[in-house]
């Protein structure tokens, strides 16, 4: 295999990996504030795509506005979900919350089927025009949007976590639940905000990827699984690790297509997920940390 082909696969891997990274960030953020894996995270990706398609095709709004509606609308749904389904369970029992998110996933995808219909939908690319040539490989213009917006999301998150009082409180809270109260922030509010952020990131992933991959009411779970595998691969609870996990997973997938066969592309992330869980549950970047029995 020549260098241009390899580059082609690498670019495809990074493109998918960026999407996984966005979803993985969502998992990580909710995990940090609740200690729970949000099984509905993938549905946020679906909702972002569906809402923006609806705003663009049905309402006839311009694409940028439709994209914004996709992201913000998903964030609102994330908040509503948290307020109605997560917050009332006051004891925060992880098993209960996990099962609630499982129910939420089922509910959201099927409500989307009723509201938006069962068929596959798509968006036009953000900038029209032929693919770019790059060192012998081709790159869709939409991929540049995916790279750029993912990078922007990571920068915004980093600034939020390190520069704002709220962000710092969220970081403190993920280390120690009572710490949030000490810095004067209501931990309940942090959970709501974490759902808003996670949903917005998922929504963003859905919006940017829909022009390339289309979307439908039932795509959520596969995005969820990929994103989750990425989060675990990097190491749960650490945003940087989530991004790296996403990119690595995307590359692994496309290399498996390059060197094995495309049949097992979807199985790769699952096998990676199981292997990491069993062999190195703290992830690539996670510290060993003694797990108290």
């Amino acid at each position: 295999m020549g260098a241009p082909e390899l580059l082609q696969f690498a670019l495809a891997g990074l493109k998918n990996g960026s999407i996984y990274a966005l979803v993985a960030l969502g998992f990580t953020i909710v995990y940090a504030s609740t200690g729970v894996i949000n099984f509905a995270q993938g549905e946020f990706v679906m909702l972002g795509g569906m809402l923006s398609v609806w705003a663009h095709s049905t309402l006839g709004l311009p694409l940028p506005l439709a994209a914004l509606i996709g992201i913000l609308g998903t964030a609102v749904i994330g908040v509503v979900f948290e307020l109605l389904a997560i917050r009332p369970r006051k004891d925060g029992d992880p098993l209960a919350l996990i099962i609630i998110t499982v129910g939420g996933s089922l509910l959201l995808s099927n409500l989307a089927r009723h509201v938006f219909g069962p068929s596959e939908r798509s968006l036009p690319a953000f900038t029209a025009g032929p693919s770019l040539r790059f060192l012998g490989a081709t790159l869709e213009r939409q991929s540049l949007w995916i790279f750029g917006l993912t990078a922007l999301a990571v920068v915004v998150l980093t600034v939020f976590y390190s520069r704002t009082r709220l962000g710092r409180a969220m970081r403190a809270c993920s280390i120690n639940r009572t710490a949030a109260r000490l810095v004067g922030v209501d931990p309940k509010r942090l959970v709501t905000i974490s759902f808003a952020l996670a949903a917005a990131l998922g929504g963003l992933a859905g919006v940017v990827t829909t022009p390339l991959t289309q979307t439908a009411f039932n795509v959520g779970s596969s995005f969820g699984i990929k994103g989750f595998a990425a989060a675990i691969l990097g190491g749960l609870g650490n945003p940087i690790a989530a991004v790296i996990g996403g990119l690595v997973l995307g590359l692994l997938e496309s290399m498996s297509i390059a060197f094995l066969s495309s049949t097992y592309k979807d199985a790769i992330s699952l096998v990676v997920l199981l292997l990491v869980l069993f062999i190195r549950p703290q992830g690539l970047l996670g510290r060993g940390g003694r797990e108290k029995v």
Partner: protein, 332 residues
């Protein structure tokens, strides 16, 4: 007093059991075939949910991949009986062994860790198996599935009518309930109740918590595998679309609605929730339109049921019933 209660319990079980056994004698008429088939589905789902009830309600874990064990059992027995032409019991044994092995392999590493890694591992396992069912064409027939799977038979006894299938499924279910009840009322059940009370106390009693959870999970996987073997021979056809994540979630919904620390609650939930999309089998008057609406909104309702039960009636059906009985008992 508790001895008396024990006797009442046995009597009640006997009556319910006898009632279940005579059902096929009363189901007659043109759609008897359909009704009995639906009731067999009910029994098959109840068998899977029974295992999930042990796992969720007693061991405090959840599986997102039981549809895969169900499928593994179905394909294993279908392949052994159809492609290899071996007796049905051999197919059943293959289903049991395969699901037990897969169960142990998944449970050992993920239950060693604290938290809910099992839920994630089973989710991944379920998706891997779904891909495998489609791709392993030589064994599974690929996306089209396998058809013409022989009926179950044990020696000269052949389960080739809807009535016989019903009795087979419900007979196996009763056996499984007996096993599960023994576990719950015996030492493993006591250990799991202890775990609910105090984890430190349980460890200080020298109880290997992980070991018990692994065994419970493996048993629940085997129940699902046996259910799969039954399904394959009752329906005569298996295809990968049956064994979806969606089914896994619905099975969890049944166990959750049924409630914790109970077998009767989840069994009841499995019966009721399985019947909803086939409501016309027991309520023949239902119009097509009503059935369409029910089937259209079924999944939404399941999702909502999961959330509402966990939030507002964490004991599920069992908890609600227990509440009624306890209050009734105190009133006396």
């Amino acid at each position: 007093m508790s001895l008396l209660r024990e006797h009442w319990r046995k009597l009640a079980l006997l009556i319910v059991g006898a009632g279940v056994a005579v059902v096929p004698l009363f189901v007659t008429g043109t759609d008897a075939r359909y009704v009995l088939k639906v009731l067999s589905f009910v029994g098959i789902n109840a068998l899977i949910v029974l295992g999930l009830a042990l796992l969720f309600g007693y061991a405090g874990q959840v599986s997102m991949g039981h549809a895969a064990f169900f499928g593994l059992g179905a394909y294993a027995s279908a392949w052994v009986t159809k492609s290899l032409g071996l007796p049905w019991l051999v197919g059943l044994a293959a289903a049991v062994l395969l699901t037990a092995a897969a169960g142990i392999l998944l449970a050992l590493p993920s239950l060693r860790l604290k938290g809910h890694y099992l839920a994630m591992a089973t989710l991944a396992f379920g998706e891997i198996m779904r891909i495998a069912f489609v791709e392993a064409k030589g064994v599974t027939g690929g996306p089209d599935g396998l058809s013409g799977i022989p009926y179950a038979s044990i020696g000269p006894l052949s389960f080739d009518t809807p009535q016989m299938n019903y009795w087979l499924v419900w007979g196996v279910l009763v056996l499984a309930i007996w096993l599960a009840a023994n576990i719950v009322n015996g030492r493993p059940g006591r250990s799991m109740r202890a775990l609910h009370g105090s984890e430190l106390g349980t460890m200080a009693s020298g109880i290997n918590i992980t070991g018990i959870k692994v065994r419970v999970f493996t048993l629940s996987a085997v129940f699902a595998g046996v259910a799969g073997a039954l399904y394959a021979s009752v329906v005569g056809f298996v295809s990968p679309s049956t064994f979806s994540l969606h089914l896994s979630v619905i099975l969890v919904a049944m166990a959750v609605l049924g409630g914790t620390r109970s077998l009767a609650g989840p069994l009841l939930a499995a019966v009721v929730l399985t019947l909803i999309p086939y409501a016309d089998a027991i309520l023949p008057g239902l119009s097509r339109e009503v059935m369409t609406v029910i089937q259209e909104w079924e999944a939404d309702v399941y999702g909502l049921v999961i959330i509402i039960v966990i939030l507002f009636m964490p004991g599920g059906i069992a908890g609600a019933l227990r509440g009624v009985f306890v209050r009734g008992g105190e009133a006396k």
